[in-house]
């Protein structure tokens, strides 16, 4: 018995507002984007004829095609860095920190920046990266370089540095959750059977946390693929990834071209998520053996 009857009409009425809201604001607009990307003709209206000219025009430009691969490459690199770093941090927090007080304190120290504005945190990197920035001043003070390195602000390196600080906790969070759910007996059993600590990690702990790793990687992937704000803040106008192109076309009122880029971006993300789901399934097959 519960405060709501199973399959009662009331449950439909309660779910309806949220469902309609999500359909109207998320599903319909995204479907609309796909439709708009095929619009031909001169007028921007629902009666436009359908063509694939918009896509043909996009792929005819090698700069744009290169941008797709550049975006994917940048994202994969960032996934690798945040994945390794995030796993180390998650493992240390859950397995190595014994005192509950320290653990809470460290957790808070990691979580609090997450609740503040990503935009402000990206901007906070600007005074670090410039020619006279903190990093260059430190390097010159230490005598590592004679003249300032210009490779930080308005560069791919700077964007990567900021994004690592923004997104590593997304990779670490699900791993922390999975590590916490491993029963201590499993590790104890392996250790009783004289497995070395490395074997325990590699054969017991890591496979059990793999779903967490994959979910974290998906989160980082989706966020970095669509993160144009950090790129715009730190890359200036000199660097662009795929989502910045959406913005560029949108601002110059080329809505059909912007839709094409948006649809391609969406396709890249879908492919990424599908691949990730495959990886989790492969793990499950391996575990049953």
């Amino acid at each position: 018995m519960s405060t709501i009857r199973v399959r009662s009409p009331a449950s439909y009425w309660l779910a309806a507002p949220a469902a309609l809201w999500m359909l109207g604001v998320v599903v319909v607009p995204i479907a609309l984007l796909v439709w708009v990307s095929f619009w031909g003709g001169r007028a921007f209206s629902t009666s436009s004829p359908l063509t694939i000219d918009n896509y043909a025009r996009f792929f005819a430009n090698p700069v744009y095609v290169k941008l797709i691969f550049g975006t994917i490459l940048h994202t994969v690199g960032l996934m690798a860095v945040t994945g390794v770093l995030g796993y180390c941090i998650a493992y240390f927090l859950t397995m190595k920190v014994r005192s509950p007080l320290w653990r809470t304190a460290l957790f808070l120290a990691f979580i609090i920046p997450f609740w503040t504005s990503t935009l402000i945190r990206a901007i906070a990197w600007v005074p670090f990266l410039g020619v006279n920035g903190v990093i260059n001043q430190t390097l010159m003070f230490l005598g590592a370089t004679q003249s300032p390195i210009e490779a930080f602000l308005y560069s791919r390196t700077g964007i990567t540095m900021a994004q690592v600080s923004l997104y590593t906790m997304m990779a670490a969070g699900p791993v922390v959750y999975m590590l916490n759910s491993i029963a201590p007996q499993w590790r104890e059993a392996a250790m009783t059977l004289k497995a070395t600590p490395f074997t325990v990690f590699w054969r017991i702990v890591f496979p059990l946390t793999l779903p967490g790793v994959v979910i974290g990687q998906v989160l980082v992937f989706l966020n970095v693929m669509s993160d144009f704000a950090t790129v715009a803040t730190i890359g200036g106008n000199k660097h662009a990834l795929l989502p910045n192109l959406v913005l560029l076309f949108y601002e110059s009122s080329q809505h059909r071209a912007a839709s094409v880029v948006a649809v391609l971006l969406m396709l890249c993300m879908l492919v990424g998520v599908v691949i990730a789901l495959r990886v989790v399934d492969i793990r499950r097959l391996g575990a049953e053996r």
Partner: protein
């Protein structure tokens, strides 16, 4: 051959060092931002600070029409409160509906997940195109509100779902057995028990809306919200004034989190006391 005990403590040290270094990496920019916002009137956007002063905060306060951050701050706060309230109501309803196991609840769950997965730039852009085709004027208090709730609602929904899965159903059942109507049992028993979760949902609603940039950018008309105003100022000119605004809004969100957390803690404490 080095003993495994030694290697174990070596890994601890290496992992600990990585963790501490990353903490510094994450926090140093934020602290620097705060520090530089107090630099002197001739201070630039990096060190040296050329003295300490409240000059840049005064600039923010005295600002003219172009770089006035006070109206955007007010808009963002009101919007965040509205999103928070809407998220609370809708996510309680949706999570309660999930308990009714209505037909198609699997699809409903995925629909909500889609709201989290779909990137802001696609949702914002698609919604802006839709509004254009429907000839609807973009404005921060209508279109931006609609889009932002689609972002905050799934987080509140997942929070409420987790809370409903965990709370003690026997209490609810007892009330129903004693003859309370379903509505009364929900209002008098269930709702007070899940109140900490409600506060969590509200916090998600507030903070996600307050910081949202991508979705607002496409759907806000001429009157900008705070993140949009900050970005516009960054495009025009980079001065420590931005750092002052950044420090202020970061403090503002930290205070909001503290209030929510404290309320959460107090609620949990009071429900625990009543139970024992």
């Amino acid at each position: 051959m080095i003993g495994w005990r030694f290697r174990l403590s070596l890994t601890s040290w290496i992992l600990g060092t990585v963790t501490v270094l990353f903490l510094a990496y994450q926090w140093l920019p934020i602290f620097t931002l705060g520090l530089l916002s107090f630099s002197g009137p001739t201070g630039g956007t990096t060190f040296p600070m050329n003295g300490t002063s409240l000059h840049w905060y005064q600039e923010v306060w005295r600002a003219t029409v172009m770089n006035d951050f006070k109206p955007p701050l007010l808009r963002s706060s009101l919007l965040a409160l509205a999103c928070s309230a809407t998220t609370i109501v809708l996510s309680i309803m949706a999570a309660q509906a999930m308990r009714g196991q209505f037909r198609g609840n699997g699809w409903f769950f995925y629909l909500m997940l889609l709201g989290i997965m779909a990137p802001g730039i696609l949702v914002g852009f698609g919604f802006a195109i839709m509004m254009r085709l429907m000839d609807v004027e973009l404005s921060w208090d209508t279109t931006t509100f609609l889009v932002q709730v689609s972002w905050t609602l799934p987080f509140g929904f997942l929070t409420m779902l987790a809370v409903f899965n965990r709370f003690d159903r026997k209490v609810e059942e007892a009330a129903l057995t004693l003859g309370a109507s379903r509505v009364t049992a929900f209002r008098r028993i269930t709702l007070p028990l899940v109140l900490p979760g409600v506060i969590g949902a509200g916090l998600f609603g507030f903070s996600l809306s307050y910081d949202e940039y991508a979705r607002s950018m496409f759907t806000t008309g001429p009157d900008a919200t705070l993140p949009l105003a900050v970005m516009a100022q960054l495009d025009r000119q980079l001065t420590p004034e931005i750092y002052a605004v950044g420090t202020t809004t970061t403090l503002f969100s930290l205070i909001a989190i503290t209030i929510f957390t404290f309320a959460f803690w107090a609620m949990r404490r009071s429900t625990n006391l009543e139970r024992s």
